[in-house]
Each structure stands twice: as structure tokens, then as C-alpha cells.
């Protein structure tokens, strides 16, 4: 057996087989469980069959919410559907919070580079980072209402301290010699900060944001489940109320796919923007 040999890699077919094995067994186990439960109880809603799942997905993605659009074309039906509507609502919140992570990274850079800025912010952010955002929800509601702003602030409070601290650490990791060299070559303070330091750590910052995407999604879901009238997590919270697993499972997979695509895009962009960076 070559399983425990560091220098032996599986062949192409073997890799294909090994990498799909867990997927295949997971799906098989699911189908088996669904079948067994439906034989016992034809009305079972906890583990829907594949047909119910596709039905649930079809209804969510291709059936307009308002009945009067029923006869419209495919594109219009998708645009009028529950899934589209929810994806747009959650997507908007996600993108706004995502955009807010970039200023956070820049702040982190300043904290790392300029000792005065560091003295001002560092201690506070270290403290702020340890606050569990979900536990101060009532305060968020008082300060920001229960609409969009409180949801975005929940994400910001939950995720930005990590990004700030990470950007700060990354900028501290740039060798001192480069800064000295920059000064001797006649660069100004901001030249050093933006052209020497930010430029080198930017791919790592992108990476750090990419890794924190899941936290963003997590806080977004928490916010939507607590108070909202649209969004992907809002729908899941409602469907849970009557065990609508036939729609919940497609929704969960859809969210996973979206996150995967955002992650993939960021990786691709990072490689395109920084071809010299080889750490991903």
C-alpha cells in the first residue's frame, strides 16, 4: 500500500475516485435515509426525497411570488421568484458589508505603520475584538434601529476587528530594512505606507478577507433571522416553522454555491492582480 508514502501520489483515476468518494457516499446515505423514512411515513418532511428537493427548488426559483406573473417567460419568472428576491436582499447586505471591510484593512495598515495611530487605536480594537457581537444585540437595536443598518453594523462589529488586527500584523511583518531603504531613496512617509507596504501586503489582506467571508455570512444570517422581512436566512427561519426541509436544503446548497463562487472569484482576481504572489 502506498497510502502512507509521502512521495507517492495517486494516479488520475484514483484521484478522481478518492476526491468524489465522500460526496458519493454522503448522497447515497441521504437517498437511502430519505427512502427508508418515506416507506415508514409517506408524509415525512424531515428528510425529503430528491424529487421533493427538486420540486422545492423549482418552486423557489422559477415560480413567481405574485400569481399574476404566472404566464411570463423564464427570465421574468426567475426575476419574480422567491429565491431571486431573497438572494438580491441578502446579496445587497453582503456586498455593503464586504465593501466596508476594505477601509478596515486600510485602518489596520495605518495602525501598523504609524506609531501615533497605533497608540490611539490598538488597545481599543484589541478590546473591541473580544466583544461577542451577538450578545450586544439589544444595544445595536437601540443605536441603529431594526432595519438594514443594524444588520450591517452587526457584520461590521463582528468581522472588522479581525481584519484590522490582521492587516496591522501583516504590515508589521514587512522587513524594517525596506522602510530604511525607501527613506534613503527619498520616499516620503505616505510613499512608504502605500507604495512599499500596502502594495506588498495587499494580496495577503485579500486572502484574509476571503477567509473571513464565512464569518460575514454567519453574522448576516444571524441578523436576518432575528428581524427582517426578506433575505435568504429570513426564508429559512420561516420555513423552519413548518419543517419545509424540501426548500431549506436547496437554499442551504444555494448559499454554499454563492459563497464558493465569491471565494473563487477573489482567488482568481488575487492571482491576476498579483501574479508575483504565490502563497495561496
Amino acid at each position: 500500500m502506498s497510502v502512507w508514502k509521502i512521495n507517492t501520489a495517486p494516479g488520475r483515476n484514483m484521484t478522481w475516485f478518492l476526491s468524489w468518494f465522500l460526496f458519493a457516499s454522503g448522497i447515497t446515505l441521504y437517498v437511502y435515509t430519505a427512502h427508508k423514512r418515506h416507506v415508514e411515513n409517506p408524509d415525512d418532511k424531515v428528510v425529503p426525497t430528491l424529487r421533493q428537493l427538486t420540486g422545492g427548488f423549482y418552486n423557489a426559483a422559477f415560480k413567481p411570488e405574485a400569481d399574476d406573473e404566472a404566464g411570463a417567460g423564464l427570465w421574468q419568472r426567475v426575476r419574480g421568484s422567491m429565491l431571486w428576491h431573497d438572494t438580491m436582499a441578502s446579496g445587497r447586505r453582503f456586498l455593503i458589508s464586504f465593501a466596508l471591510l476594505f477601509p478596515a484593512a486600510v485602518l489596520g495598515l495605518h495602525i501598523g505603520v504609524f506609531p501615533y495611530v497605533g497608540a490611539f487605536f490598538m488597545r481599543f480594537i484589541l478590546f473591541f475584538d473580544k466583544i461577542i457581537a451577538l450578545s450586544v444585540l439589544p444595544i445595536l437595536f437601540i443605536a441603529f434601529g431594526i432595519d438594514e443598518l443594524s444588520k450591517i453594523m452587526l457584520i461590521v462589529i463582528g468581522v472588522t476587528p479581525t481584519i484590522i488586527l490582521d492587516a496591522c500584523n501583516l504590515s508589521k511583518g514587512v522587513p524594517k530594512e525596506q522602510i530604511v531603504k525607501g527613506f534613503t531613496l527619498g520616499a516620503g512617509n505616505f510613499d512608504i505606507a502605500y507604495l512599499v507596504m500596502l502594495k506588498q501586503i495587499f494580496p495577503r489582506i485579500l486572502n484574509s478577507i476571503r477567509i473571513n467571508l464565512k464569518s460575514v455570512a454567519l453574522f448576516l444570517f444571524a441578523g436576518e433571522m432575528i428581524a427582517s422581512d426578506d433575505g435568504l436566512a429570513y426564508r429559512i427561519a420561516l420555513l423552519r416553522r413548518h419543517m419545509g426541509m424540501d426548500t431549506i436544503i436547496p437554499y442551504v446548497l444555494w448559499v454554499a454555491l454563492l459563497l464558493f463562487l465569491v471565494d473563487l472569484t477573489m482567488r482568481f482576481l488575487n492571482r491576476r492582480l498579483h501574479p508575483w504572489f504565490r502563497e495561496i
Binding site: 434601529g145 431594526i146 427561519a237 416553522r241
Partner: protein, 353 residues
């Protein structure tokens, strides 16, 4: 070493042996004034006494409401407290045959619609209402709209699904939010806010929001299942007689009921004024065998159906049928999923438990 192993094995075996032949059952409950007595019943030893009488072991476990329903549907617990509406749209609609064994109370003002600025039902169109959607709160809200002649405007109200754990601070601290639907003790808390009035409550729809103890029908057919139902029913009415009585027994029961939700006995007393508890098996029997029950259940099941709570593919409310104590079936006879069973309450009434 070997002796130790043998000894501990022997201990385990001895410890288990007597329990092994006693069937064991689990009751799930969640915080609500009408269900808190299950906590007291367990802690005071009343339940244990009844369980021993019937030769069963009964465990009592607290849940949050939604997870308790999920645990019941997933068959990880045998009995659970829930309202008539959830009994219909969670287990019954998911094909889990369910029997309502104890009718504990109906909400007689515990659930309420509260507003700011003297708003009324006819002015709610286009406004936001905070509530936990697809629950009795939404049911209460729609009944209120209907009874106040604003039925055609229901669709124009913007419902904001808000978790019950945050609904009180979220409403109280945002003066822009004008209406909220929730239940006690949150209602009492919100009502203390400035300029907030109650425009509708479950006292105006008595007997529509029923609080039950349900047991899976297949559990009742398991060895010891009947005895389990008898033991719980016996213990329940013993607690009820304490709560409705006087003297130190009543105080103790009130304290135990309050302790269940870390509340004060005074607050429990206040909540009991808006809870129509069926203190005696007689009163419970009377409601369960009345024509009223069928009318109220019909309103509830039609609501469940029109809100898609009975499942996507369901063609009508008749698909999830209800069986009443007199043998009448509401819905298709071959699709009975929820049963109101008075046999245990009747035994209690006749003093045969």
C-alpha cells in the same frame, strides 16, 4: 486492576438492572405560564410518585419552543407541550400521528397586538408589524384584522419576522416601529412603555389558542405507553388542584411554577389572570366534547392551509384530518393525524387514575 474492572462492571449492571425493565419516556416543555407547571411537577417529586405508581420512568426536559417542536417531529422526545396550531402544522402535517392527551389551558389575553400612537386596525395598511411569523401571533393578528373589518387589507401590512428573544427591546427602543404582536411575559414588559396600547388580545378569541400536551400516537401503543399517559395526566391534575387551592400548597406550586421561568410568583399570578387554565378534568372534558372545539379548530386549520403551513403540495386543509372525542373526523377519514383523546382526562374525572 482486574478486580476494579469487574467491580465497576458489576456496579453498572446492578445499577441498570432495575431500570431496564421499566419503560422510559421523555416530556419536552418550553417556557410559558401554562407549561411551567411541568417543571414544578418534575422538581417537586409529584411526577415521580405517579410514574412509580404506573411502573414507568419519566424524564422532563426544557427546550426553546421551536427546537422542542423539531425534537418531537424527529421523534427524539415522546411528549411535548405545544399549541393546537403547531400540533397541526408541525407533527401532524409531517405525518407524525399525534394525540393530544392533556388540554391545559387556552390563552385568554396572553397574546396581544400592541401599538404606538393610538393606531387602529384600519390604519395598519402599509405599516410595519413586528411578530414571529407563521405562529399564533400571525394567527391572532389576522383574526384581529378580520374582526375589525380590515380583512382585505391584511396583505398590505408589512410583517417583519422578529425573534421572540429580541422583540421586546427592539420594539421598545425604536419609536418608528408602530405595531407588535407577541405573548406574555413580553406583553407585560412592552405595555409598560410610554404611549403603548393594546388593541387586540386573545381574550377576544377565547378557546382558539389551546395549549396542549401531545404524545406521539405510536408511543401510546408501545409497552407502558398508556401508563405513561396516565401518570402524566394524574400528576398534572394534582398540580392543578394545588394551583387552584389555597394555603401553603398553592404557594409552593406558584413558587415552583415561577422558578421554571425564573419569574416571581406575583408575575405568574398576573399571567394566570389572562390564562384560562382548566383546573379540573371536568372543565377540560366539557370543552373537549363541545361543538365549540370543532369550530375553533376549523378556523385554525384553514389558517394553516392558506399560509402553506401544511406543506407545499397539500391540496386542502382536509389532507391533515383531526379526530374528535365523539369519533367525528374533520377532513379525510383516512388521513387522521391529530387526535383529541379524552380517555385519560375522563379517568381523572372519575377518580380512577
Amino acid at each position: 486492576m482486574r478486580i476494579a474492572v469487574v467491580l465497576s462492571l458489576a456496579l453498572i449492571l446492578c445499577g441498570r438492572a432495575p431500570a431496564a425493565d421499566k419503560p422510559s419516556f421523555t416530556v419536552g416543555w418550553s417556557i410559558y405560564v401554562g407549561w411551567n407547571p411541568y417543571h414544578y411537577m418534575d422538581k417537586s417529586g409529584i411526577l415521580k410518585k405517579w410514574a412509580e405508581k404506573y411502573g414507568v420512568t419519566i424524564k422532563v426536559q426544557r427546550f426553546d419552543y421551536a427546537p422542542s417542536l423539531e425534537a418531537f417531529v424527529a421523534k427524539s422526545i415522546d411528549a411535548c407541550t405545544m399549541t393546537n396550531m403547531e400540533a397541526l402544522d408541525m407533527p401532524a402535517a409531517a405525518g407524525v400521528d399525534t394525540t393530544a392527551v392533556i388540554l391545559g389551558d387556552y390563552s385568554n389575553g396572553n397574546d396581544a397586538v400592541l401599538v404606538r400612537n393610538g393606531l387602529t386596525f384600519d390604519k395598519l395598511a402599509g405599516k410595519k408589524v413586528m411578530l414571529v411569523q407563521k405562529t399564533v401571533s400571525e394567527y391572532l393578528f389576522e383574526r384581529g384584522m378580520t374582526m375589525n373589518g380590515a380583512k382585505d387589507q391584511i396583505k398590505r401590512v408589512r410583517l417583519v419576522n422578529t425573534s421572540d428573544s429580541d422583540i421586546a427591546p427592539a420594539f421598545l427602543n425604536n419609536p418608528d416601529e408602530e405595531a407588535v404582536v407577541t405573548w406574555k411575559p413580553l406583553v407585560s414588559q412592552i405595555r409598560k412603555g410610554k404611549g403603548i396600547t393594546t388593541i387586540f388580545s386573545s381574550a377576544q378569541i377565547p378557546g382558539e389558542i389551546l395549549d396542549l400536551l401531545v404524545i406521539r400516537t405510536d408511543v401510546l401503543h408501545r409497552p407502558g405507553g398508556q401508563n405513561f399517559a396516565k401518570a402524566v395526566t394524574g400528576a398534572w391534575y394534582e398540580v392543578m388542584s394545588q394551583l387552584s387551592g389555597t394555603g401553603p400548597a398553592k404557594d409552593k406550586a406558584l413558587r415552583g411554577t415561577a422558578e421554571a421561568s425564573e419569574d416571581t410568583p406575583d408575575s405568574i399570578k398576573e399571567q394566570l389572570t389572562t390564562t384560562h387554565l382548566f383546573y379540573t378534568p371536568q372543565s377540560s372534558m366539557q370543552f373537549l366534547t363541545s361543538a365549540e372545539l370543532k369550530q375553533k379548530m376549523d378556523l385554525v386549520r384553514q389558517f394553516c392551509f392558506t399560509h402553506g403551513l401544511l406543506g407545499e403540495g397539500t391540496s386542502g386543509a382536509d389532507e391533515v384530518a383531526v379526530l374528535y372525542p365523539d369519533g367525528a373526523v374533520q377532513g379525510k377519514k383516512d388521513r387522521v393525524r391529530l387526535r383529541f383523546d379524552t380517555s385519560y382526562t375522563q379517568l381523572a374525572q372519575e377518580g380512577k387514575l
